[in-house]
Each structure stands twice: as C-alpha cells, then as structure tokens.
Amino acid sequence: MNRHGDEIVQTTSEQWRDAVAAALAEGFSWFDSLIGIDEVGRPSGGDEEVRVVVRLVRHDPEGDPQGRQLHVRIPRELDQARLDSIGDLVAGAAWYERETHDMFGVSFTGGDDRPLLWHLDTPRHPLRKDELLAARLETPWPGAKDPDDDTAQASRRRTLPPGVPDPQLLDDPSVTPAELVASLGRARSRRARR
C-alpha cells in the first residue's frame, strides 16, 4: 500500500505481462497510466535501472475504487531497457508505451515503438535524468547573482541551478550517468508544510 491506498506489486520483466493479465482478470480493468521513472541518483539505489509503473483500477459499484500499481525495474542501458508489450491486453496502452519509449527509451517487444510525442532524427529521451537541458545550460540563471558579491562576505561557493550539472563534467567522455546526475544542482529541501 502506498499513501494513496494503492496496492503496490513488484514484478520482474519476465512476469510483468502475466501480472498485468492477472490484475485485469481480477477486475482491475480501468487503465490509468503507464510511465517510467529514471532511478539514477535516487536514494533507493538502482543507478542502472529504469522503473516502469502501470496503474490499474478496479471500480467497485458498492465501495471505493481500488488501485493496483505494478512496478518493474529494468536495466537502464538502451539496448536492454525492454519489456513485453501489454498493448494487446489493454486497449490504449500502446499510446503510453510509445510515450514511455519517447521519454525514457524503454522498448516494448511486440508493441509499437514509433515516435509519438518526440520526433527527432537522433533519438533522445528527455525524461532520463542525464539528458541535458540545453536551454538551461545556455540561459543565464537569475539565481547566480549574489548581493554580497561586492563585499568581503561574498560566498565562495557557487550554486548551480537545479537540473544543471557541474560544467567540468560535461567535457569528460568517461563520466557515467550516475556521476552526472550526482553533480546536478539541487533545489533546497522544502520546508515542512503547515
């Protein structure tokens, strides 16, 4: 269970299609979403993985709807980031598979990997965390200014904007995605909400 009351089922790439079929057979027949999560740099570990999540809902005429999420972790390497398609089990899932392929570089065997949202000659996968945000690299960041610049108190530490990696790593061909992501500027941790 997560905090939204969804049941979370961890599965494997071998069992993933069967797990979806089983959920459908149990009445979780309303397809909510299918999307990836790039695990690189997350505290849970798994720098080499992409997680794919599908959420299915069972609408109970008597009570509240119940959600079930199937999570599967697959290698991040583009030629191994592959799952069986569920497009033939769930009408409409093919669109989400195409989107997940566009955004995360996950291929779906037996499915349709044609670009849906992202039409480029050279495929890039913009929701992978090591995908560089060119506009962020080129645009001057207003937060780089420091009102103390003209005084002795000027901070020695330069802050990087969130999502922009350490510029020194950009020219280094041996840098790994995990190292690049670890160097990204971070947002301040949020204050506790009232």
Partner: protein
C-alpha cells in the same frame, strides 16, 4: 470575489481562497536572500540588490571584528510570461514577503510589458 476592472477580459476570476492570479511583493519584508529566485522552476524572478554597511555603531563596533552589512533591494521583477503560478516562491519565502494577490495579470502589447517591477508588484491586486 474580485470583480476588478484590471482583470483580463474572459479570464477566470479567482476568489480569495484559491486565486492564483498574481503575486504581491511586500518590499519591506524582503531581505534579498535570493531564495525565491533560486527556487523558481521557470526562472521568472530577478533580484538586483547590493549590500551596505550599517550606519555607524551598528556597522562598525569595536566589539566586532567584521562589519555588519545589510542587503538593499534595488529591483525585483517577475516575468509573467514565464511564471506558471505554482506559488513555490510564496511557499519558500522565509520572510513572507510574497503573497497571492487576487486579479489576474493584465495582458500586454509585448513581452517586455509582462515584466513587472517592484512598484507594479507592490500594487498587485490592490486596485
């Protein structure tokens, strides 16, 4: 409800509880700490500020080795063409110098007209 004549025609009229129409700057609370600028996901806020040494004994006191300085805000802008009204700046401001103001920002003839300075932001929603 705010049925103010500055609202862009056709734009939804926000009420006091939910209105994400514009953001007001309360300048005397702003310490130019840059937190809102750095937290803004769309980079729509800019701050120009400098530091000044506090006058006389407050700044240079024999009991202190370092001089005490204070930030003085010179300019504060929000570019409404970039702002997505997420409110992170309001949430993050440690001094509550930003708050939601009722009516939506008016349209402008060009993009430059959507960059509001500290005087415009101080009056957001007040007319």
């Amino acid at each position: 409800m705010n049925n103010d004549d500055r609202t862009t025609p056709g734009a939804p009229t926000p009420d006091a509880a939910t209105g994400h129409g514009s953001i007001r700057l309360i300048e005397e609370r702003c310490t130019s700490c840059m937190i809102c600028v750095r937290e803004c996901p769309t980079w729509c806020i800019t701050i120009e500020a400098h530091s000044e040494v506090l006058p006389d004994e407050q700044g240079h006191h024999p009991s202190r080795q370092r001089v005490r300085t204070v930030h003085v805000l010179d300019e504060f802008t929000i570019d409404w063409a970039l702002c997505m009204y997420c409110g992170i700046c309001i949430e993050e401001c440690p001094f509550d110098a930003l708050e939601w103001a009722g009516p939506h920002v008016l349209g402008a003839a060009d993009l430059v007209g959507l960059v509001h300075d500290r005087h415009a932001l101080a009056e957001a929603g007040s007319r």
